[in-house]
Symmetry: C2
Subunit: 150 residues, 2 copies
């Protein structure tokens, strides 16, 4: 399919897609996050082809999102989130928020998040890191940054 390499673009969206933009990758991260950390567990949970799962895991490990770790003297491995990968899970929580709002329908959200700090069922909200006020698509101007030079 000779897919275009997004990493070359001067765009953090494209670069992020280069890491987790391939089919299944976000779902694999979700699985690892919720505790499916072994090859056969992930494969069984998602129904993904073993070949593709191998490729995705290798790719995620190569990009430092997952770490492959032996858990036995036999050749047995589990995949764990690195710090870089854990911060990607934040992105998944935002995806969940959007999906819950626009796609869940009558049945309601498939999963809920309980926030440790307050103990309540909640969801993420986007705020400005500087002033703490809501920060959504319409609340910002987009300007060229230092990494935009040709």
């Amino acid at each position: 399919m000779q897919r275009t390499n997004f990493a070359e673009l001067k765009c953090s969206i494209a670069r992020t897609l280069d890491v987790i933009g391939e089919p299944w990758s976000p779902l694999i991260l979700r699985d690892v996050f919720v505790g499916f950390t072994r090859f056969d567990q992930i494969q069984g949970d998602l129904g993904i082809s073993r070949k593709v799962l191998t490729e995705r895991l290798d790719h995620l490990v190569a990009h430092g999102v997952l770490e492959r770790r032996a858990y036995d003297r036999r050749p047995r491995y589990e995949y764990v989130l690195t710090e870089k990968g854990t911060e990607l899970v934040d992105l998944l929580m935002v995806m969940v928020g959007w999906g819950d709002k626009w796609l869940a329908g009558e049945a309601g959200p498939p999963v809920l998040y309980r926030h440790h700090a307050c103990g309540e069922i909640s969801h993420v909200d986007l705020r400005c890191a500087h002033c703490g006020e809501p920060m959504h698509a319409g609340d910002v101007d987009v300007l060229p940054g230092p990494g935009s030079a040709a």
Copy 2:
């Protein structure tokens, strides 16, 4: 390639991926958001194949993320974000935040966001919609929700 249909899974991540998970879709939304709203503009900016762009735009319109709107008496159309689509841009801002932090390197972020409310260059931060405290992957318990029934 007979790609698996994620929409069937009881998972808001999978459902969201069904809408914008295909290659290029997030970048198309970005383009529309920053003002590339016409077919040839997007095609030229991204270097995407015209065939694939047609498919993606149709898909995004079908899912209510973009709206196709005539802007001339001639058959000329532009694509604009719906409310549903605008809220997806929030997701892109989070992707940008992660990409800026982990992938931008020495050159720094390619684009910057200035927040209207405070006028400062900033980025998004995830907060609990209930209590306002930070809400990241490690700050939550994941529980089954109403939409999880078989």
